[in-house]
C-alpha cells in the first residue's frame, strides 16, 4: 500500500512537470510559428513599406529586340536608274531576272523601287534585260540566292 502510495505521489509530480513543459513548449511554438492571418492582424505594414516592396512597373519591354532595317534603308541608299552597278546587284547573273523580296531581304517599298528603277534603266538602254554586265559580275554579293531569307510565296 505504502509502496503504492509513494508511487502515485511520484507519478503525479512527474505528470505535473511534464504538462508544464508541454504548455511552455506550445506557447513558444505558437509565438515563433504564427500562421499568416494572425501575423497580419497584429502587424500593420505602412504604405511606404508596401511601395518599396512592390514589383517595379516597367514602361517598356527591356527584352524587346531592336527594329531591323533592310540594307538600303540602313545605309540610306535610294535606288536610281542611273546607278546601274547598284541595280545589277539585285539581278541574276545567269538570266538577268530580278530577285524576289524573299531573297533580297528588302522592305516592300524599297523592293518595288528597285524593280521600277531596273525597268527604267533597261528601257533607257543602260542595263541589259537577259544578263548582268560582265564588269559587275564579280561585285560583292548582298545576299545568297541559294539560301533565301524566307521561303518562296508559292
Amino acid at each position: 500500500m505504502f509502496f503504492c502510495k509513494h508511487q502515485t505521489h511520484k507519478m503525479s509530480s512527474y505528470v505535473l512537470t511534464r504538462s508544464f513543459v508541454g504548455a511552455a513548449k506550445k506557447i513558444l511554438w505558437r509565438t515563433l510559428h504564427r500562421p499568416i492571418h494572425e501575423a497580419a492582424e497584429s502587424h500593420q505594414i505602412s504604405n511606404e513599406e508596401i511601395q518599396a516592396d512592390l514589383p517595379v512597373q516597367l514602361e517598356k519591354n527591356p527584352y524587346e529586340k531592336p527594329r531591323v532595317k533592310c540594307i538600303l534603308c540602313k545605309y540610306n541608299i535610294e535606288p536610281d536608274y542611273k546607278n546601274v552597278r547598284l541595280l545589277s546587284q539585285f539581278q541574276s547573273r545567269y538570266t538577268g531576272r530580278i530577285y524576289g523580296r524573299h531573297i533580297t531581304g528588302l522592305c516592300k517599298s524599297k523592293q518595288a523601287k528597285v524593280e521600277h528603277e531596273i525597268l527604267k534603266a533597261q528601257n533607257a538602254g543602260f542595263m541589259a534585260y537577259y544578263f548582268k554586265d560582265v564588269t559587275y559580275v564579280k561585285d560583292p554579293q548582298l545576299f545568297d540566292p541559294d539560301h533565301p531569307f524566307r521561303p518562296h510565296n508559292y
Partner: protein, 147 residues
C-alpha cells in the same frame, strides 16, 4: 515646271556632230519655254543590246542625260521631236524623283503571320464573310432530340 531627265543615246559620229545634235535638242527644249539645268555626258559606251533606229543597227552609242524643266503639256511634243531626230538612237524622258523615301517597314513584315496587319485584315474579312449559324437556345451543348 517640274524637272525631267532626258536620257539620250546618240549614234556613233564625230564630236562636232554630237555638239550640233545637242544644240538642236537644247533649242527644241527652249522652244517650249523650258530651261536646261544640267547636261551630263556618260561617255561612249557599248550598248547592252543592239538597237535598230532609223534603218540602221547600232551596237555602241554616246550616252547623255539632260536635266531640264518644261511645261508638262509639252513633254509629249518634245519626245516626238526627239524621236524624229535621226542622230538619236534611243531616248526616254523620266520625271525627276523628288519624293522623300518611305520609312523602312521590314520589322513589321518579318513578324509571325498573326501579328502582321495585312493578315489581321484578312482574318477580319473572313470573319465578316462567315454566315450566322442557327442556335437552338436550349442552354445545352448538344441537341436533346433525335435528328
Amino acid at each position: 515646271m517640274p524637272t525631267y531627265e532626258l536620257t539620250m543615246l546618240l549614234r556613233v559620229m564625230p564630236k562636232t556632230d554630237i555638239v550640233s545634235t545637242l544644240k538642236r535638242t537644247a533649242n527644241t527644249i527652249f522652244s517650249t519655254g523650258g530651261i536646261i539645268r544640267k547636261i551630263d555626258s556618260l561617255g561612249f559606251k557599248k550598248m547592252p543590246f543592239k538597237t535598230s533606229a532609223h534603218s540602221l543597227v547600232h551596237r555602241e552609242a554616246n550616252y547623255f542625260i539632260i536635266y531640264f524643266d518644261a511645261p508638262p503639256s509639252r513633254i509629249f511634243d518634245l519626245d516626238e521631236a526627239f524621236g524624229r531626230d535621226v542622230d538619236v538612237v534611243r531616248r526616254r524622258i523620266y520625271k525627276q524623283d523628288s519624293e522623300p523615301p518611305e520609312a523602312c517597314t521590314l520589322a513589321d513584315e518579318i513578324k509571325p503571320p498573326p501579328y502582321r496587319s495585312e493578315v489581321q485584315k484578312m482574318l477580319e474579312m473572313a470573319k465578316k464573310a462567315k454566315k450566322p449559324q442557327f442556335s437552338y437556345n436550349t442552354g445545352l451543348d448538344y441537341y436533346p432530340f433525335q435528328k
